[in-house]
């Protein structure tokens, strides 16, 4: 039988990633001075789970290293070691090492330098472990084995009884318990699937390798845990954590794993009933010395976990499948638009009603499908705690990162791709914007710098803000650098905003000293390009001496937009609806390209001119007033055709020269509609206003 390991490996990588993030968060929280045993547990759990799943893939380097980390964490958990800054820092480096191991290409042995690094870390870990790792083995040579059979076991031609018989030849089977917890009710049970679980106590002289070999053929599909003779209680605790049995009573689990006998449990239960009805069973077991605290804690954790998973369940779905769904829903929305249109021409009232109902549901399906792609940005934000921690230490700065709005949801693609540009902006802020503690004190500021990451919704887009309280942008410095690099000739008459935008020009860098963090001039232009590729924009706000804010404005979703359909000549265009402010008649303006909007100057663009459309313009043209990032512009079109929902299809490379088109869509009559890129158009109208520069005067 061949196993599809690639799919499994992907799940493994994704899960490990999440666990590593959790571990890192907990470590950073510890370093920030939080005293919480839950944090240690979280770190332990992450290391432990990674070890377990890596073992399933035979990634021995990860298993071996994670095991060392786990052993040390075990001491911390049991209170034999206290956690302090040097230890957290060591654990952070261990975290990085595990991440590097996990991310090294599958199927190959980790690179030599990684292994060297691992050995160095192991030595450090050993030093922390000290003499506490002495084993006090009271070995009776009894191994405990937990086996949970994979469903395919029988169909693969294997039989757990043969394994039991083989184990019997290696030593003496003291105790075998067969579990039917996974066995479904009789109606749903598939007689050829294997649902069995075994708890086995085996007295044997053989070594671990031989025992493990007994499970070689079932290891891929089944869960196997071996507990060596005289193991510390921690291992039992681990076993309880790892067993798949769900909502089991704590006592039952302990009996099964052999930590307690049924008699001891019964005795404890008796005490509970008579003497202390208020006490938890776990407490009593510990009090009576019937079970080690670790084992009880683990069992309790297991129960809590079982309850939790009942509440919120996740399904891991391949992104491709999701994209296909969203794509299909998009097509559905289009065809529904056609149906609605056609039915409105018909006299059949019942049909119209039915169509309206289905259109409403389709809209809901659309929202739900798009909702599937939405993920909170908090995960991305939290990654920066580490970036800030590492960089500020390296640079001798003191910086706090304050995160808000982490629950704001946006499209997964955007979340995935915004990570790198954000990282660069954060690094930049730490390196360039926030001053050293001495400089800050001299400027009369708090020596601790402050970085703020915030996300929230704002009319149809997501605003991600990164604010610092550093020195702010230095217009003169940027200007002189830009002139030196030949980006501009002089800054005369260029507004601040445009000067600051120069930092996004390729090859620009103001760092007087090139550090290894930023300041190599690569990146800021890439940041801007990435954001623009995602149909977003970058704005800068400067508070000289007090800091700066970088605002990234991102679209909510990449797949579907509500649009406003207009036409010029025979061609149809879609204006994203959330940018449309109002529509009005053009009236007589002569050859002017601005008009008076309730006393305001409104620059406008004639789409007819942009398109070089030479057909005769109709007598009455209309203006669509659009706004973006607080600026307004008018677009002159022939006709207004109303709202529609539409699926964005990307344009091919051939059309990349068309700056003011962001995509295309298929309209109801099979015609192609081009989607106007409003940010570009608004900027263009504004530039025209600046260059001609006499509008305001003319209006008066």
């Amino acid at each position: 039988m061949t196993l599809d390991l690639t799919a499994a490996m992907q799940t493994y990588a994704a899960e490990s990633q999440e666990l590593l993030e959790e571990m890192e968060r907990a470590l950073l929280a510890l370093e920030a001075g939080r005293q919480d045993p839950d944090l240690i547990d979280a770190i332990f759990r992450s290391a432990h789970t990674i070890k377990g799943s890596s073992g399933m893939f035979g990634l021995d380097a990860v298993v071996a290293f994670a095991h060392e980390v786990e052993t040390l964490l075990e001491l911390v958990r049991s209170g034999q070691r206290t956690i302090d800054t040097p230890l957290v820092s060591l654990l952070l480096r261990c975290h990085d090492h595990i991440a590097a191991l996990v991310n090294s290409p599958p199927g190959e042995d980790p690179q030599a330098d990684l292994l060297v690094q691992g050995d160095a870390l192991k030595t450090e870990l050993q030093a922390w472990l000290g003499d506490a790792s002495d084993d006090d083995r009271t070995s009776e040579n009894v191994w405990h084995i937990s086996l949970r059979c994979g469903r395919e076991l029988f169909r693969d031609g294997m039989d757990p009884l043969s394994i039991l018989r083989y184990l019997g030849t290696l030593g003496e089977l003291i105790n075998v318990t067969t579990l039917d917890d996974a066995l479904p009710p009789i109606e749903r049970m598939d007689p050829t699937a294997c649902y069995l679980g075994f708890e086995i106590d085996l007295r044997t002289e053989t070594d671990k390798q031989t025992l493990e070999a007994a499970f070689d053929f079932v290891r891929e599909s089944s869960q196997v845990h071996l507990i060596p003779p005289g193991s510390k209680t921690a291992l039992w605790a681990e076993l309880i954590q790892a067993l798949p049995e769900g909502d089991d009573k704590l006592g039952e689990i302990l009996v099964r794993t052999g930590v307690l006998t049924r008699q001891e449990l019964a005795a404890a239960m008796g005490i509970q009933v008579i003497d202390s009805p208020d006490k938890q069973l776990g407490e009593i077991l510990v009090e009576q010395g019937l079970a080690p605290p670790e084992a009880v804690k683990a069992a309790l954790g297991r129960q809590a976990q079982a309850r939790r998973t009942g509440g919120e369940r996740y399904v891991r779905v391949e992104a491709d499948k999701l994209d296909r769904l969203v794509d299909l829903v998009g097509e559905l929305v289009i065809s529904s638009t056609v149906t609605t249109l056609r039915s409105s021409h018909s006299d059949d009232r019942a049909l119209q009603e039915a169509v309206a109902t289905s259109a409403r549901f389709i809209e809901e399906v659309r929202d739900a499908a798009l909702g599937l792609r939405m993920v909170p940005i908090g995960g991305t934000f939290n990654r920066f705690q580490r970036v800030v921690h590492d960089l500020s230490q390296e640079l001798g700065k003191q910086i706090d990162l304050v995160i808000s709005g982490g629950e704001t949801e946006l499209d997964k693609t955007v979340v995935d791709r915004i990570g790198d540009p954000l990282t660069h902006l954060v690094r930049n802020a730490i390196d360039h914007a926030i001053e050293s503690p001495e400089e800050r004190l001299a400027a009369g500021k708090d020596p601790r710098g402050r970085l703020q990451l915030n996300a929230h919704h704002e009319n149809g887009s997501i605003l991600i803000e990164l604010s610092d309280d550093g020195r702010g942008f230095d217009r003169e410095r940027i200007a002189s650098k830009a002139i030196e690099r030949g980006l501009i000739d002089s800054t005369e008459g260029i507004p601040d905003q445009d000067v600051f935008q120069l930092i996004f020009a390729p090859g620009f860098s103001t760092a007087e000293q090139v550090s290894n963090l930023s300041g190599r001039g690569v990146g800021m232009d890439v940041v801007k390009r990435t954001i623009e590729d995602l149909r977003g924009t970058v704005e800068l706000e400067n508070r000289p001496g007090q800091g700066a804010t970088v605002r990234l404005r991102m679209p909510l979703t990449l797949a579907i937009i509500d649009g406003f359909l207009v036409s010029v000549g025979d061609a149809r265009y879609v204006v994203p609806l959330d940018t449309v402010e109002e529509c009005m008649e053009l009236g007589t303006v002569g050859r002017r390209d601005y008009l008076d909007l309730r006393g305001e100057v409104l620059p406008f663009l004639r789409l007819r001119d942009l398109l070089h459309d030479t057909t005769e313009a109709p007598a009455r043209q209309s203006v669509v007033v659009v706004s973006y990032a607080g600026k307004k512009a008018g677009l002159v079109v022939d006709r207004l055709l109303g709202e529609l929902q539409t699926v964005i299809k990307p344009l091919g490379e051939v059309f990349s020269a068309l700056k003011w088109i962001s995509g295309c869509t298929v309209l109801d009559v099979g015609q192609v509609g081009l989607i106007l890129d409003v940010p570009v158009l608004v900027a263009q109208a504004e530039r025209r206003e600046v260059t001609s520069g006499h509008h305001a005067a003319a209006l008066k």
């Binding site: 059979c149 076991l153 029988f154 169909r155 039989d159 757990p160 009884l161 039991l164 018989r165 019997g168 089977l173 105790n175 075998v176 318990t177 067969t178 039917d180 066995l183 009710p185 009789i186 049970m189 007689p191 050829t192 294997c194 649902y195 069995l196 075994f198």
Partner: protein, 89 residues
């Protein structure tokens, strides 16, 4: 056709192998005689799937398992399930 009462009264005698190859068919047979007492004296071979089926029928249908043949008894003993077999009066 026998009635339900007769079914429970007269044990269902299983014979021949009780392995993965028979499992599908065997489950249907056991379901058809829901709750019947099983006489296992004729079982010549029994693997994990057989044990699993016996556990299921004992647990969910309340069937009594009796007269295990040597091979069934050995398999149950191996799994620590000897208590499933009721001693014949």
């Amino acid at each position: 056709m026998s009635t339900q009462e007769e079914c429970t009264a007269h044990p269902l005698c299983l014979s021949g192998p009780l392995t993965i190859y028979e499992a599908g068919e065997m489950k249907e047979r056991l379901l058809a005689r829901h709750g019947a007492t099983l006489d296992l004296s004729g079982v010549t071979e029994c693997d994990g799937s057989g044990i699993q089926l016996l556990m299921l029928i004992h647990r969910d249908a309340g069937s009594r398992l009796t007269a295990a043949s040597e091979t069934v008894a050995e398999a149950l003993r191996l799994c620590g399930l000897s208590h499933l077999i009721e001693k014949q009066p």
